[in-house]
Assembly symmetry: D2
Homo-oligomer: 265 residues x 4
């Protein structure tokens, strides 16, 4: 699914190669047409769908999102949004596999409470263990804890997806050093998931060395979602290229002899 | 000089319309060929040249930067880098006008000291008054003081260019609220000038509502200046589009009923 | 152990009341005399000792730290620093209980790796469950994950101690919103443990509503540890009083009609 | 006016020695009694009074603030709050000198606009020149521009007082690097004036090396102004002592070999 522009720097997840490093969700749009246009403007190739909230075939009499976002064009990534325990998350993944004719790629999230939507990392680890054993390719949502992130990689998850900030908050990357530490320790792709609010947040994630960014509300809740989708596409590319290009060192002044001179007092 | 992509949202400076909102300098490159390639990759249409440090015709026996960056293709913006008093800044602008056959557009900077390269705003105001009277179109470098910025506008400067951080520091936007206040008060274009270090910094500047960004070191001192130039191009566009698209409100949690709930304790 | 000054606002941990909200460690000092003087200057009543690194009676032929910090004057809080798995942490607590004649109060930490010293929250939860069952009063070091913090409270820990930043980093509170969320959710005391670098960091922790702060390196690695201990004492009191006094709302300008007007763009 | 506790580290302004580094204003309190109690709790020795808004003798029939804050106990520092031009500021200082029987110490502020209350640095410089020539000891409010701050020192001001943030905003120190640069360049006392919101803000100002902090709203607009005054007193002392004690270097991890390792990416 790589496009020409980025074929030299593809995102590799579970043995598959992607030209876009921006992954998008499908919730909170006005209607399916707006969803379709925003997804298109984002350039995303991996589209995540909340199985428990979206009709992707469970109800044959209702509009099916897969008619708008056809699986032969997009990599559909079913997710377990709304699951607060191991069992419901695991069952949701099994259902998704059925609906998608055996596709194994899932995004696992097990949330800890309804107010904050922070992940429950203990339950997430348990669910990941089960799903990996059942042959799923698990992309896993987690907090920004470097030890938990490494554990999820060791379990066999194909990508680890730490939050930037709480789901739907738009607060941007609250703890860049944690994200950076997770990236440094990782051998699987690290994608920031949740908390991005605007274009610069996405660029920052990529500049920290993340392999990609997943977002939904930042696009869907913008005043003009379709324009924002295009902005996010460029921001992810800009951040990636800035990371690869190797930024100038930050110094207090151009005349400073060391990159850090005096920054810590 | 607008290109098709941005003809609906041009930057207007001194009655001229530009498709790109990224302005770049020409210092600190390996050689003129690298300068040329980086400028091209940046998509910039306005190119600023330090008159006192660059041969733009003063020395007929040396390579002339205008051969590489021809004035019929780029808007050349001579600047007064290296000037620490009113007189030398004013004289430098007059020299530039001569060398460029009467072009009036200049970037004024009067610096306060060599260690920090902070602007001397008092001298800057004086020089701006003189230059405006002499018919120059003055784009003016200043600190991030909203009162000084407004004063420079009232004098008749065609654009006001507050710093993000000290020249050559790469520290990004140190005081976003000041930049935002300057933007809110302005009737002329506000461009962030100096201090941008990486792509996200440029995006932040645009998301604050700035009309453009000017940079030099962030591109020239990157490990791969040409790739970084492209990253900056995309970052400026991403930030502009995110600004126009209207970002989602930031909240502590998706469930919060007010955008700010609890952020100040 | 309350002193007069703070008897109206004591810290309550495991049914015991303390006048000081600053807890200090004993590592990294020049010698026991410096330890003693710094502890005294800090005003701390709870002193944490790394059982595996300090002689508190294991070796009868060496100087015993309890001779310098006598348990009848200070509440000794043995900790499991240097433990990277459940078993060693649990065994260390049992040893401490023996050495301290049956005192039950311990600080549990189970670390995830030697480079970052981040906690292993999964192992921490397991160790906490065992220790609580064995009758220990467990003060528990953890990361700043609100869901894990709540879980540790539900297990029966008597205090939850999230990090501000990695142990020994001195980076201050990296994620104030997480700490704030932990405080809001808690029914047991929340104390920031690890990462404080200077006095203002301690004040910030208290202003977020924490019940106390524990530190070691910030005092021991200051140029003048004894003066820094006094600074930290005042900073914790200042932060606590500012929290209780109810700070002014933050606004962009005095003239702004709402506390937040324009802070999110 | 030094007290015993701080006689070894006094604040020196205009040849006078002070034991407290916290200066407070008298506006926005419920009544004169609350003013008096808050001032007392703050431990401040220098009290600033807005001449144009407060009766310090102009009206003999109204309560005089000097009856509550007697000049033999406090150093009264008349200020020019509410002045938006050079003339009114200069005239206000002359009036204050008269009312205070020839006392020369004044705090000069010339504001730029009523919405933001940012200083007008050009007018401030002009007024300072006049006042210094007339024999005043000028403590001068300014923005955080290092070049302007140095200029004000060169004119002969006895102390330079950069803002932390806009007056009455409570936003804390918006640009610590600028404040630090001003401190490094200075030979007169630097006091942060305006923008402090809570105790940790005051500590940060002192940790940056400032010689003192002046505040009003942060105390007067707290829910409990008298308790907040005490908190501020301790915070200023804590920050000063932490500065003198020499903080530990900040590092990403305790194991890092250099203070900065990896902080800039």
């Amino acid at each position: 699914m790589t496009d020409t522009a980025s074929h030299e720097d593809p995102l590799l997840v579970a043995g598959q190669s992607y030209g876009s490093r921006l992954l998008v969700g499908t919730g909170k749009y006005q209607d399916l047409e707006q969803t379709r246009l925003a997804v298109e403007a984002s350039g995303a190739e991996i589209i995540t769908i909340a199985v428990r909230r979206t009709n992707m075939g469970q109800d044959r009499d209702q509009p099916n999102i897969l008619d708008v976002l056809p699986p032969d064009r997009y990599r559909i990534l079913p997710n377990t949004a709304g699951c607060y325990d191991v069992d419901s998350a695991v069952r949701t993944c099994r259902l998704a596999r059925e609906l998608l004719d055996g596709h194994n790629l899932v995004k696992l999230e097990v949330l800890g409470d309804e107010r904050t939507l922070f992940p429950d990392v203990v339950a997430t680890i348990q669910a990941a263990e089960t799903l990996v054993k059942e042959g799923f390719d698990v992309m896993v949502y987690t907090n920004d804890d470097p030890i938990v992130a490494k554990r999820l990689e060791e379990i066999g998850c194909v990508a680890v997806m730490p939050l930037a900030a709480p789901i739907g908050s738009g607060l941007g990357i609250r703890n860049p050093l944690n994200i950076r530490t997770i990236v440094e320790n990782a051998r699987v792709p690290i994608l920031v998931d949740a908390g991005v609010g605007t274009a610069s947040d996405a660029a920052v994630a990529m500049e920290l060395g993340c392999d990609g960014v997943l977002m939904n509300t930042a696009i869907a809740a913008a005043r003009d979602p379709i324009m924002m989708a295009g902005a996010m596409r460029k921001a992810v590319e800009a951040g990636r290229e800035a990371y690869l290009a190797g930024r100038m060192p930050a110094k207090r002044f151009a005349s400073a002899s060391s990159p850090i001179e005096g920054l810590f007092f």
